[in-house]
Amino acid sequence: MSDTTDTGPVLAADGTPLKRSLNRALRAQKMRALMLIAPLLIFVLVTFIAPILDMLFRSVENQIVSNTLPYTVEQLADWDPETGEAPGDAVFAALYKDMFIAAETKRHTRLGTRLNYEQVGLSSMFRGSGRQIDDFGKDQIKALEKLDNSWKDAAFWYALMTGGEGAEGHTALLNAQRVRMATVTGDDYDGDIGFVPGRAIAALLPETAQAYTAFALFTAVEDEDVVAEEKPWEAVKVALIRDLQAGADVAGYDGPGAAELRAAQELAAELPALDFRQAFTASDKGWSDPETWRTIQIYSPDLTSGYFLNAVDLKQSADGIEPRPENERIYIKLFKRTLFMSLVICGACIVLAYPVSYLLATLPMRTANLLMILVLLPFWTSLLVRTSAWKVMLQQQGVINDVLVWLGLVNDAGRLVMINNQFGTIVAMTHILLPFMILPMYSVMSTIPPAYVRAAKSLGATNWTAFWRVYFPQSVPGIGAGSILVFILSIGYYITPELVGGTTGTFISNRIAYHISSSLNWGLAAALGTILLAAVLILYWAYDKIVGIDNVKLG
């Protein structure tokens, strides 16, 4: 052996361990390689991986309920759905606070749409109540304004809520409301709004101060008006009456508007208490249904399995997970159909592509090149044109039916339906995906030396035996590669089934597209997409187990 001892590490000429100096030498090389792929890597990360991850996240993301109805969700946590009754007054009071802001910021319809996925009818309920919420407590507000005109005065309210010149401000309350408004709307509520709630008044009238601060933020940020010049929301006045009725100690208060407050408290004592439950139920009966509240409670966490359950035709109900009603089950059927049709397309491609690839691989160069051009020809034509051509070919007044009628094989009344169904989709997609089967098959077959078949024949095998026992096994990797390619392409195919699939020939991807662009249920679309991705990965894994990915060659 050389001069290395068998105990220590091998050293380079300068005494550093050989491994380290090798790594150092290779590092520059690796960096250069990394630099070369960096543009593509960044491109893929930004435009491909990131959106996919975002979509995957959307399939479980569910912040809209807790963002839009923060107080309600908090109060609802204590409610036990097993009682079979709608929750108590505190929940409805919180719902009023949340709904008022949501309605002002027009976020209640979005929430309604979201919850409608889980329980039909909630969308119209949210929209209806949102429209009427300004009228809740109308009588009490009228009485208050009749008592003293200053309750209609914007400047009076502003003075009352700031606590007058030089009063100590309650910035914590202001910031809390900033966060709340920002969460509900998704907008930015930073910056000076020309208003800070007074600490004293906030302690005296907590609900009112909260509501007015929210109003002030909305006025300054969304409407870009001066807070002191705008009359406050009905919700502020409702909050005031509730504060006064709750026994706010206004007797000892001496800030601006103290006298008016004392008079208002006397009035409030005589007014009937505000019944939000009754008001909501009057605007829509749905609010008295415990099922409604159950849905809201189930979907109040930030993460949900609801989209995934929906994607496999299940739903969360009072008794746990259960299947959806018969007429709402579509996705399992669609997944099965997608898998089945992809397999059929894949099989059709194998059967059609094998002889062509064989010819390509065995014909003399010149003829093979010509044939190759014919194979690639479809790639030079637009996908839409090809698909539309199949429409022309296959429709009932189309070329094939005309020929069949002309030949007398079918009569004019009995023209075959070959388009806008599964058959049409399979025919058109087989045609479109055929090159993806032919090319890998061809490149594998062209590496099989003709000597093998000759050897088999010289050993006494007939043409068929030589093909089946010697040629075919060696071409299997090409079939494998082509099948994976075609199957994975077809399982996610969209445009062709959309154009020629009708109702019975559409794929799961058409449903995904529908949810992305029409129903705007991105969460469900993301869940369906995730399941599709998982299915492909599982199939790929199974394929690797059964056939072995080493047996797949592209050339």
Binding site: P449, A451, Y452, R454, A455, A456, K457, S458, L459, G460, A461, T462, N463, T465, A466, R469, V470, P473, Q474
Partner: protein, 367 residues
């Protein structure tokens, strides 16, 4: 060589022609007959049509014209798998998806031979090539030489009477090649099979064969046992192609007593044996092997003609000395002398005289 003597021949080509493109003949008028048990080698430069001949015999190419007979029966219309001819391909063509044993049992399976008999035959064939333990391996797990043996065993396992081999040793290194040459000839003779062997390596052809057919330009240039081929080449091509050879150009002056007097282009005169020349005045190429050139003139007969030569280079090669001379205006004339005790070592620049026995120098047609 156009006479047909295929009466008792095992393999016979009769006036066979072959063209791939309808314009050029790749094989032109091939006539050949082999007795049973012969080891015949087709030797020739690349592109001379050897493989084509073999493929026609195996049935993978059809003859454009002529007849191919096997055991007296025309096989022109018999498909390859019914000819029962064993074949060893250049890159072995072992089926990569089968084990060695499966490769060997393939020809037996297609002949519907029973399992136990099959296993017995496979085992015997593997033992025959000393590969008994390798039955379970895949071809890719074997070295080149081992693959070669398996290919041989596979071609022999179904006991064909005729075996064809197309440059079977081309991919092996020199030492292994020499070893396999020996094994193949031994097997072929032990089993008594008729073998057609194709190579472009003349040493291989000379050491292995009973007879060698030298191919060039789609024709057999000479068909003869190795010694005859080396010592009595029938034409310039064979003389050049087989072994080392010195040539000189000249004109025949006279032919007397079976010896031709040739006047070289620089005016000198030398003796040669007329092979392809018959009349004085004909242009000729004379051909002499380097080891038959004499520098020691005392060994020649009294009145032998000699040539002037100048030593250009002396190369010591151990067992022999190789001297390059300038003779008759050419400077590539080689002389090989044995390294014996009394042999003198020629210094470059020395003027000497050389000569030879007339029967060692052959006057062939001019090229």
């Amino acid at each position: 060589m156009s006479e047909s003597q295929s009466g008792d021949a095992f393999v016979a080509f009769e006036r066979v022609q072959k063209s791939y493109d309808g314009e050029n003949l790749v094989v032109k008028d091939l006539n050949l007959s082999m007795p049973k048990g012969e080891f015949l080698t087709m030797l020739g430069p690349s592109g001379s049509g050897k493989t084509t001949c073999l493929m026609m015999l195996a049935g993978f190419e059809t003859a454009t014209h002529g007849k191919i007979l096997l055991d007296g029966v025309s096989i022109n219309n018999i498909p390859p798998h019914k000819r029962g001819i064993g074949m060893v391909f250049q890159n072995y063509a072992l089926f990569p998806h089968m084990t060695v044993a499966e490769n060997l049992s393939f020809p037996l399976e297609v002949r519907k031979i029973g399992k136990s008999q099959r296993e017995e035959k496979v085992r015997r064939a593997l033992d025959m090539v000393q590969m008994g333990e390798f039955g379970g391996r895949r071809p890719a797990q074997l070295s080149g030489g081992q693959q070669q043996r398996i290919a041989l065993a596979r071609a022999l396992v179904f006991e064909p009477e005729l075996v064809l081999m197309d440059e079977p040793l081309g991919a092996l290194d020199k030492q292994l090649r020499e070893h396999m040459q020996f094994e193949i000839t031994k097997l072929a003779h032990d089993l008594g099979i008729t073998t057609v062997y194709v190579t472009h390596d003349q040493t291989e052809a000379l050491t292995m064969s009973d007879r060698v057919a030298v191919f060039n330009d789609g024709r057999i240039q000479q068909l003869a046992p190795p010694d005859e081929l080396y010592e009595s080449p029938q034409n310039s091509f064979v003389a050049q192609f087989i072994g080392e050879n010195n040539t000189l150009e000249g004109t025949v002056k006279e032919i007397r007593n079976g010896v031709a007097l040739v006047e070289l282009d620089d005016g000198e005169v030398i003796d040669a044996k007329p092979v392809n020349v018959s009349q004085p005045g004909e242009r000729t190429t004379i051909s002499i092997r380097p080891e038959r050139v004499e520098v020691d003139l005392s060994r020649l007969s009294e009145n032998a003609h000699t040539l002037n030569a100048e030593v250009a280079e002396f190369i010591y090669m151990g067992d022999v000395f190789r001297t390059r001379l300038k003779v008759a205006g050419r400077d590539d004339f080689i002389v090989k002398t044995r390294n014996s005790a009394d042999q003198q070592r020629l210094k470059p620049g020395t003027q000497i005289k050389i000569g030879w026995q007339p029967e060692d120098c052959r006057a062939l047609e001019a090229v």
